[in-house]
Structures are given as C-alpha cells and as structure tokens.
C-alpha cells in the first residue's frame, strides 16, 4: 500500500492550442496550484488527436492520458472537437473493453478562460490515475527479463 501512496503518476496531457492550453496558461499566471504530474503536449485541435498518440504514450510508460479541447460549438476550426468526440467515445470503449482500467484515460472540454476548471480537472485526473498505480497496459518493456522465452 505504501508504494501506491508514494506513487507519482506520469500523465500525458494533450491540449488543444486554442482553449485548454490557454486555460493552463491562465492557471499558471493566476498562481493556481495543481499537481505536477502532467506532461503537456500541445496539439492544434482535438480533431488532430490520433489513437496512435494515446497508445504510443502508454507504450512509452505513461500511467494516464488526458485529452482536453474546446467546448462543443467553440472549436477554432468549427467542428474538429465534434469529430474527435465520436472517435474518443469509440476508442475509450474499446480500450476499456480490452482491459484498460476505467480512470486511466480522461477527456475534458476546458476553455482558455476556465483556469479554475483546469486546476480542478488536473487534480481530479491525477488523483484518479494515482489511485490506480503504475500502468502495465500496453507498456513496451525492452529490459532483458521482459524478453519472451524462445519458442
């Protein structure tokens, strides 16, 4: 149990350039405190998110994933987030269907004005992932003991 308490997850966070990324900025200049567990990747739009990014993050050792974009109707490109929503729904279901623990993968709509929602969501996401412990899902491990036995 003590392991889990000390465990600090690494969370790959994909933020839309036009909203959540600005929200994170605003949270910063507003001196809002939030856990330092997220590693932010700026993307032009959630419509640009590919399932490859998510699996690649897990492969490389992310313990959780968080994708955040503009509220429906606010997309800089009119509807990128609306297409993304359909993909996320199917992808999240598929990943959880093959055994990804609920709570590893998160989605949110946060505008650039919502610094407080940003702060709250970081806390929520981090706590959820921390509670699950380190991710084994899809982790690529090249260490010697991980090598498959011959034949």
């Amino acid at each position: 149990m003590s392991d889990k308490e000390q465990f600090e997850p690494r969370i790959a966070a994909f933020f839309c350039n036009w909203c959540t990324y600005g929200g994170a900025d605003l949270a910063g200049v507003s001196r809002l405190q939030y856990p330092p567990n997220i590693r932010v990747v700026r993307i032009p739009c959630t419509g640009r998110m590919s399932p490859k990014f998510i699996l690649q993050a897990f492969r490389q050792g992310a313990d959780g994933i968080w994708v955040s974009g503009c509220h429906p109707g606010d997309c800089h490109y009119i509807a990128g987030n609306m297409y993304a929503r359909r993909r996320f729904a199917v992808l999240k279901n598929l990943l959880e269907y093959v055994g990804l623990e609920p709570g590893r993968i998160h989605f949110s709509w946060i505008s650039s004005a919502e610094a407080t929602k940003f702060q709250e969501t970081v806390i929520e996401v981090t706590n959820a992932v921390r509670a699950l412990g380190p991710a084994k899902f899809m982790l690529k491990d090249i260490a010697p003991q991980a090598q498959r036995e011959v034949a």
Binding site: K52, Q56, Y83, R86, V90, K92, Y97, L100
Partner: protein, 316 residues
C-alpha cells in the same frame, strides 16, 4: 450452390463476351479442401472456372481498390456492403463496376469443420444440400452445414447484396437468424482485470503476418501505420505491447466501416478471433450513432460526421 455457380458463369461470360468488362472477379475451386481461391477471369474460357460454394471466405471487394480495368465482381451481402463503403470513401468508380449479386447462405468455417472431426487430415469435402461430406483417410462424416457457419455468417443481418446490377437468384431471407447483440462484444461480460488477461491470451499466438489486415477491404492505405517508421507507432517485435498495439489500432481503423464480413478471421493462419474487437466497435457504433456500415452509397461514414447531441457523458 450449383445453381449459383452456373448463373455466375453465365453472367460472367455474357459480360466478358459483350465487352462490358475486362475482368470478372470471382472464385475458383481451390487445390485444398475448404479453400476457394479469388480469381480474375479475363476470358469466356476462364469464366468457366468460376465457382460458388460454402468456402468463398475472402472478401473480393479487397481486390477492387487501385484496379484500372472495367471490372465485374461477384458479391454477396457483406462484399456488396464493402463496395458501398469503398464508393463512399471514393476508392472506386461505380461507372466502371458491374456487380453480380449473390444472395448468400453463409460461409462455412474451415476451423470449425476441422475441430468437429478432431483435426484429422481431410482429403475432400463435398456439399450435398445442407450437408457437408467430409472425407479423409479411413473416415467419412456427414456434417450439418448450418452448425458450421462462420460466427459472422451466423449473425449476419444482410445476406442479400445491397447493391447489384444483376442477381443470380431470388433473394434469400436477409437475416441468418443469430442474434448479433448477444454474440457481439463477448468480453463485456468480464470484469476489467479478466478482460486484460483474456485479451493477452487471445492474441498471444499472433505471428504478425498481417493476413487479417491484408484480407480486409477497408485496409487500403498506401502505408499502414505498422509500416511507418518515423515515428514508429508500433514496434516490429513479438512483444505483447507491439502485437496488441497492432490489433487495437487495426480494429479501431475499422470503426464505422467494418461490415463484419469475417475475412480477417478466415485468413488468420493461427485461428485468432479478431472479431472480438471489431464486433465491440460495430456494436458501439450501432448503439451510439445508429449507423450500419455499407448500406447507403449516399450516406457519409459515421466517423466522418457528427451530431450536436452525440453522447459525451464521459467528457468532463
């Protein structure tokens, strides 16, 4: 079956003789039991080799993409739906295509037959009405064809072609009888931790030959994500993570497009049931977006459209 074979030959010969098409895509008898071969007939003589049986398990729509000739294709329900899908995605030209529709009675699973007879070596399989006569060294068994249908054929909802230029016989009952909602997404019943171990086990035998991908008419990308190297999304090794990445992304790429034709499972040399993944996606798409792939040439594929009120209760 014999009637269908004759009508297919007749139609193929006519189209070739008239010069309406350069090639007819169909099946010809395979050299091993329970395996017919996709075949491109280019002359009236060659059209005489075309057959129709319970073992036409490949999806011929797969051979339409990037084909320059005027083509006729033998298509049952699922193949016709994949043709619709390819039309929607602008991969083929309807004007250069003639569809010889075949109302389908389902295809028989080779592995189910082999299981049934205890994996003995089979010399020949004959179809006699609703019975399969399986012959091998020192044995002859009569099996019920319907019980040995492929899983996807058992739950098929569209056995008649959804588009065609001509039909080789009267339509059959559209639904095969199996309940798709009961059969789809079998792992939903499992607890999360069981799912993960079940998933690992189900794909442990994968040898990454990519037969499932290459047999699939949806997979027409010039460069598949597994072949991309900069960045490399999926390693080339047999590590679990690499094998699983391949299967998850392959299945996801079929979202809203898969017609559940079963070509992937029939192609797999290791007998992996990859429909456990695609059937889950197919079910989700049907339930969340009310969309059945490959039914309407004018419709936009479901992942390329949106509705303002799409489900989003999973988004904070």
């Amino acid at each position: 079956m014999q009637q269908r074979t004759e009508k297919i030959r007749e139609a193929a010969k006519r189209l070739l003789a008239e010069g309406a098409v350069d090639v007819v895509l169909g099946y010809r008898a395979g050299t091993v039991p329970m395996r017919e071969q996709p075949f491109a007939a280019r002359s009236v003589e060659e059209a005489d080799e075309l057959v129709w049986s319970s073992f036409c398990c490949n999806n011929l729509a797969n051979f339409l993409v990037r084909r320059d000739e005027k083509t006729a294709i033998v298509a049952q329900g699922c193949v016709s739906r994949n043709i619709v899908g390819l039309l929607q995605e602008n991969q083929i030209d309807r004007k250069r295509l003639k569809i010889i529709g075949v109302p389908c009675l389902g295809m028989v699973s080779r592995s189910k037959v082999l299981d049934k007879i205890g994996n003995k070596t089979v010399f020949a399989v004959e179809e006699q009405g609703e019975e399969l006569v399986v012959k091998g060294k020192g044995f002859e068994e009569r099996l019920n064809r319907k019980e040995l249908l492929r899983d996807n054929c058992f739950t098929c909802q569209h056995r008649n072609p959804v588009i065609s230029d001509e039909m080789v016989c009267e339509p059959v009952q559209d639904a095969a009888g199996g309940d798709i909602d009961k059969m789809a997404a079998p792992w939903e019943a499992l607890a999360p931790e069981e799912r993960w171990s079940t998933f690992k086990e189900a794909f442990a035998d994968c040898i990454r030959c990519y037969a499932c991908r290459d047999a699939c008419p949806l997979c027409y990308c010039h460069v598949c994500f597994v072949d991309e190297s900069k960045p490399q999304w999926c390693g080339k090794t047999q590590d679990e993570a690499d094998v699983q990445t391949f299967h998850i992304l392959r299945a996801f790429h079929c979202a809203g497009r898969c017609t559940d034709c079963g070509a992937c499972e029939s192609a797999c040399p290791m007998g992996i049931k990859m429909r456990v993944l695609t059937s889950k996606i197919e079910k989700d798409v049907r339930q969340m977006y009310g969309y059945t792939p490959g039914m309407d040439e004018k419709a936009t594929p479901t992942m390329s459209v949106y509705r303002p009120n799409d489900p989003q209760d999973f988004i904070k």
